[in-house]
Amino acid sequence: MKNFIKLLTFALLIIVVASCRKQEVLDVDFNKYNLDFPEGNSDLDKWLNNSFLDPFNMRVIYKFNRYYYGDPSADITPPKAENVQPMMQIVSDGYLTPYKNVAGLNFVQKTNPKEWVLYGSNKYQTDGSAIAGTASGGTRITLYGLNYYSAAPSFATSRLYVIHHEFTHILNQTVAIPIDFEAISGGSYKQPWTATSASTAKNNGFLGSYASGSPTEDYAETTATLLVSGQSYYDNYANTSNATAKTRLKLKEANVVNYFTTAFGIDFRKLQKEVQNYIKTTLKDPSVSFGYWLNRNLYKGMTINLDNDVTYSQFGISDQFRTAYQTSKANVNAIPNFGLTFNSVKLNFTSATAMTMTVNFSQGTTAYVANYNFDMAVTDATGATKFTLSSAAPTGNAATLLTSVQPLLTYLNTNTFVADWLPAGYNSGTYTNFGGFYVSGTPTNYFYGALTQ
């Protein structure tokens, strides 16, 4: 009996334990939930898919989704649909295409952020200032302010600046910033960056207050400025700061150029020229043009040596200029009784409105110069340039050579030129190494030379 009770108790215990195991499954299939893929089948959606999603696995999110924007202090609006395509065309031409051409499709597919979120209004901060773009997590770039789209180049360049800035961060997250970069500034990084004035930042060799906050921002600002604002802007900024700051800025430039080559095998100078070509040719932003900086007297000299500079044999020179140059050269060399040798020509831009043509020649081993003064007038918007030979009669060497170099003087004096980065195909260094002029309306009649600042 006792055993029976024990057995029964044991059996009951088993039943009790088993009976406690209740299993109920709420069978919900999350695949059937509304997943909110708002892309439709409009022409715009097709264009975005063909231009970005298919080639680059890059999703452009322009339809409002509250979950991409969590800032409670300010509202934000979706973009006007008609502004999406022009904005993304800028992204394609000013950012994706240059990288694709220089670094290759694989590089872009691998490194380009996968989500691009677009908003119509600015993103306002609590202090009322507005933000134009942000990058997060190496995977998303957010661009604000599409409703302010305009065909003016300033809209496109300001956005491209943001994009190249943010993309530099993403590159830096792939391959870290070279350790010697931070040392260039000698420990002058300081937060909050808003407490550093623009002039203090410049004196310390930074491209602005924002760059003085941290090495990562400094790096992104350096890259974006070189690519979008242009080499001339960068050089002018460095030239107008103090000697220490200039040295630092040039070291930072060299660091960035070297980083692109060693870390990614990208020729930074080619990339820079691609972006600048787009800004100059398509956006028609005069502030990146040769004429604009000639008008600000950034470039002080242009050396032309047709026979000894390999650039001319590599990229050619127009027949008209070659004739004027070589005829002048032959004339000088043929002046009887002097035994002169014509060496080269240099245009000295002594101010924004004056140019002196210097003919370098020698007698035996002694070098001489002959100077001819021109007035110069450059129009910012078009680069149109007119040289007018001074009416004052030349004296000394200039008088002696006057009739001999007349073909060059006539060529410069009679033509109306357009200043440009020439030769157009130049690709073996910084695009600002060479500049030149072509005759307005006749691009095949041109000359160029090595620029000095």
């Binding site: 009770i5 215990l13 999350f30 708002p38 409002f64 202090s73 649909a81």
Partner: protein, 446 residues
């Protein structure tokens, strides 16, 4: 002991046999129900053949109405009573319906409704960062056979839509909303002193009707109803309104003397009437002069008056201009030793304390910042509206006590009346001396 153990186990076994299965409170799983709800809203919106007429208040601004035609997929055509352009030109943008905390209707690219949400004041005059405090995504709330209601996700304002008829759709698409807006605006420009009569306790009360048709965030798209009661007190109520093809709709009930007013409609081609919730009609009549004396509205409709820097408003007499100019021209030496390049005079009424604060503002940076000199008066007034001021606190703070002194002594030595002054359609406040009626000053009403 063992029996107790046995009994315990037995009881436990019995209890454990009671299995209560999971029973859903709903007849379907959440994914199914959600998709059903989304499909339902999509169907309702897309299948109104002639579109929807929607009204929506904003949290910070006034009320607005829209004509919306959803294509059932992702495109919506819109007309809105925001501006001349928005009320006459159809704009197309996209929308989508998705799952959120409920079913969410998102106007996901820019359209007229987005202007109210725009954080940039240059877009439509909203406040920086928050616009009019209006939404672009709305959670489905409820629907009937011919209406559907959504609630704004962030600012909780209701977007109420009613099915439009074929005629209404045609009228909206032909720019009829702008015609309707222009017509009612013109009526109130021509009849600035409109009022309605209500009977309360055997006496007839006249209530002034004022509509602010602007898009000003603080005051625009609102209607004021102000009545002077038998005891002389003024009752003012305000409601946000939106334009319809035949008048305006109030976006919440406007209650005065126990009557709920709901809209204004054209009774005939030239007669407007306000209707209450029972459909009773109150014809809007016109009075040649403002219905409520200005002094009755101090502290309610008008909190003060303003004399802007070096601005003498129409209606100011020569003697009045002398007093005001003594301030504006005295912001530079020799009246007082400092050189200011901006200043203004403000009157601020404090009705509960029966006091008036006279403030002289002076600035050396064009008004961005500056200093304020305050003088506080106590006042009494008769039923006829004759005000007498006595000094409560003499000039303190700031640097402009001397330039203010002429106005100060005027207020202390004269009794004054306040009245309206209308010039070229603009309304000003007029202050006149009883003792010397040649002294008249006009101000902007605030």
């Amino acid at each position: 002991m063992k029996k107790i153990l046995f009994l315990f186990v037995f009881a436990l076994a019995l209890a454990s046999c009671k299995k209560s299965s999971f029973v859903s409170k709903f007849d379907e799983d959440p994914d199914v129900r959600m998709n059903e709800a989304i499909a339902k809203v999509k169907t309702i919106l897309g299948t109104s053949d002639y579109g929807w007429i929607a009204t929506m208040p904003t949290l910070d601004g006034g009320g607005y109405s829209f004509f919306l035609k959803f294509d059932g997929k992702d495109s919506v055509k819109m007309i809105g009573d925001l501006s001349d352009a928005s009320s006459s030109k159809v704009a197309v943008s996209s929308y989508r319906i998705k799952q959120d905390a409920g079913v969410d209707l998102v106007f996901d690219t820019y359209n007229y409704i987005t202007l109210l949400n725009d954080p940039d004041p240059s877009a439509f005059g909203g406040n920086l960062k928050t616009g009019f405090k209006s939404d672009i995504d709305f959670i489905y709330d409820r629907s009937t056979a011919d209406s559907i209601v959504f609630i704004g996700k962030r600012y909780r304002q209701s977007l109420k839509m009613v099915k439009a008829t074929a005629d209404q759709k045609a009228t909206y698409e032909a720019g009829g909303l702008k015609v309707a807006i222009d017509k009612i605006k013109a009526y109130f420009v021509a009849n600035p002193n409109s009022y309605i009569e209500t009977v309360s306790g055997g006496t007839t009360v006249k209530s002034a009707v004022n509509l602010n048709f602007t898009n000003d965030v603080a005051a625009g798209k609102r209607l004021d109803l102000s009545a002077v009661l038998a005891d002389g007190s003024v009752v003012s109520s305000s409601v946000k309104f939106a334009h319809t093809l035949n008048g305006v709709d109030f976006l919440s009930n406007l209650t005065q003397s126990g009557i709920d007013f709901v809209n204004i409609k054209w009774k005939d081609a030239s007669t407007l009437a306000i209707y209450d919730s029972n459909g009773k009609e109150y014809i809007i009549k016109s009075s040649p002069t403002p219905l409520i004396p200005l002094f009755r509205l101090w502290g309610s409709k008008y909190v003060g008056m303003l004399s802007q820097y070096k601005t003498i408003y129409p209606g100011t007499s020569t003697a009045g201009a002398v007093i005001l100019n003594y301030y504006h021209n005295g912001l530079v030496p020799p009246t007082q030793p400092y050189a200011f390049n901006y200043g203004r005079i403000n009157f601020a009424w404090n009705v509960p304390n029966k006091s008036l604060k006279l403030s002289g503002f002076s600035s050396q940076n064009g008004g961005s910042s500056g200093w304020i000199t305050d003088i506080i008066y106590n006042y009494t007034f008769t039923d006829a509206g004759v005000f007498k001021f006595t000094l409560n606190t003499a000039a303190s703070g700031g640097y402009v006590a001397v330039p203010l002194s002429k106005l100060d002594s005027f207020l202390l030595t004269n009794t004054v009346t306040f009245d309206y002054y209308v010039d070229n359609g603009n309304l000003y406040g007029k202050m006149t001396s009883v003792e010397d009626p040649s002294i008249v000053m006009t101000f902007l009403l605030q």
